[in-house]
């Protein structure tokens, strides 16, 4: 298959970028989208040109590195798939494909298609953890978890932190990501001790990173390679309201609460 690529090229975080046009020739239809770029890069390197920089690691949809906007759609045309799980057979022969990095003030472009998503790490650091006592491992069934709770917690925990939700959101909101991280702990007994402190801290960090707000367009859910539901946003908001309503001024420190 043959394609014409329009790819965002940007030398570094400070320089201006632009869309460059490349021919992707003789691409096998069962090549993944990343393999297609690999082939184009081989040709670029053979010609002594700078290859297209893109982030990738697992190439099986679990690490969340391979973030790119493909023809205006985060992770491209396949529902519930990361870019690395999209194959060229999903495109038409001869198609012009535009490839851009995530666009968010919180995700600065480092080079070409590579963005810095450490804003997500800082949201997790703010409260996306539980405190557990050290010592011997506890009995596996000591804390009982209802099947429905563990299922919905696992649905939220499927988040790979790729940033597609932010990228696809007209507002550049990180509500689906933050909501998923909050929900997967809030739906389990282990997450309860710090539940309301957690939502307070993580939401504050999310805002500090200058992500936008949630209008409930639903674009995040449609873009998510793990198809995480906007239900997690409702849970986050409810817990945030409870956290604010029950907060007492002397508990302003980082200690657990709730």
């Amino acid at each position: 298959m043959n394609f014409t690529l329009k790819v965002w090229r940007q030398a570094n975080a400070k320089s201006a970028g632009r869309l460059e046009t490349y021919a992707a020739k003789e691409i096998p239809s069962d090549a993944s989208f990343l393999e297609m770029i690999d082939i184009v890069n081989d040709h670029l390197e053979a010609d002594g040109k700078e290859p297209i920089a893109f982030a990738h690691d697992c190439r099986e949809g679990i690490c969340g590195s391979c973030s790119m906007m493909i023809d205006g759609v985060a992770h491209g045309p396949v529902k519930g798939a990361a870019t690395c799980q999209v194959h060229m057979r999903s495109f038409k022969d001869g198609q012009v494909i535009t490839i851009e990095p995530w666009r968010s003030v919180a995700f600065p472009v480092l080079k070409d298609l590579v963005t810095d998503r450490s804003a997500f790490d800082r949201i997790i650091q703010a409260g996306g953890y539980i405190s557990a006592p050290t010592g011997g491992a506890r009995d596996a069934n000591e804390i009982l978890v209802a099947k429905s709770d563990s299922d919905s917690a696992m649905d939220a925990a499927a988040c790979i932190g790729c940033g597609a939700c932010v990228a696809a959101c007209p507002n550049g909101s990180a509500s689906l990501f933050t909501g998923a991280k909050i929900a997967h702990l809030a739906r389990l007994p282990q997450g309860q001790p710090e539940r309301y402190k957690r939502v307070e801290l993580m939401v504050a960090q999310m805002d500090d990173e200058h992500f936008g707000h949630c209008t409930l367009y639903g674009e995040c859910q449609a873009a998510c390679p793990k198809q995480i539901s906007i239900d997690v946003i409702g849970l986050m908001n409810r817990d945030y309201i409870v956290a604010m309503a029950t907060k007492t001024p002397d508990m302003a420190g980082a200690s657990g609460h709730g």
């Binding site: 007209p170 707000h213 367009y217 639903g218 906007i230 409702g234 908001n237």
Partner: protein, 219 residues
């Protein structure tokens, strides 16, 4: 006080304020629509209803007005600030972003909201204060409707505004439940049934009045 400030400063807090004030607006428009529909029972009935609100119930009317004005101001302030925050969240835009599931209602929420604001101001000057009405007579509610809607573009503006209201509520009545964390978990969270019915009933319930005068059903 501190918490209230933290809450208001957060994007979720502002959005919750929008949801609550929007629902106050929804409650009001349902009541207002029901009141208006008395026009179909004749001039005496409608004028008597107006007299009731301005006479025995005038304290209630005053409270409602204060609450509604506060709600509108908060709603608009939050809408404006959130719009600015989110605009700043994407300083470099895409060459092309293709929305997958956004509804027309969600895409037009902001400009539809601006239209509603213009409408609300016009509407108050038109039927409450009477300054932009061609021939306003205090207390003659039905007569003011009839003469007011003789101006064709005014009647048309009312119809357009009611389409905007219906769209605003098609999104808002649904999204506010999620903003406030009241919606139940759902396998299809974007599906909505009650908000469709609400939007249609409310926008039609208001629109039938100018339509009836335009078509000569009421005169």
């Amino acid at each position: 006080m501190n918490m209230l400030l933290t809450f208001w400063r957060s994007t979720i807090g502002k959005k919750v304020v929008m949801g609550v004030t929007g629902l106050i607006g929804l409650g009001f428009v349902i009541g207002h629509m029901a009141g208006n529909l008395q026009a179909f029972s004749g001039a005496e009935k409608l004028d008597a209803y107006g007299a009731l609100l301005h006479g025995p119930l005038h304290e209630l009317l005053l409270i409602a007005r204060v609450v509604l004005i506060a709600a509108v101001i908060l709603h608009i302030t939050a809408a404006y600030q959130l719009t600015m925050i989110s605009r700043a969240a994407r300083p470099v835009d895409y060459a092309g972003r293709k929305p997958q599931v956004s509804t027309l209602a969600s895409k037009t929420l902001k400009w539809g909201g601006v239209l509603l604001l213009v409408f609300i101001v016009f509407h108050i000057l038109h039927f409450t204060i009477g300054t932009v009405h061609p021939d306003f007579v205090d207390g003659k509610v039905y007569r003011n409707l009839a003469t007011g809607f003789e101006v064709k573009w005014v009647a048309a503006f009312y119809l357009v505004a009611m389409i905007a209201l219906g769209m605003h509520l098609y999104h808002g009545a649904w999204s506010s439940m999620r903003t406030l964390g009241l919606a139940r978990q759902s396998a299809h969270p974007l599906k909505r049934y009650l908000p469709v019915a609400l939007a249609i009933v409310i926008s039609l319930g208001f629109a039938v009045i100018p339509l009836a005068f335009l078509l000569g059903v009421l005169r």
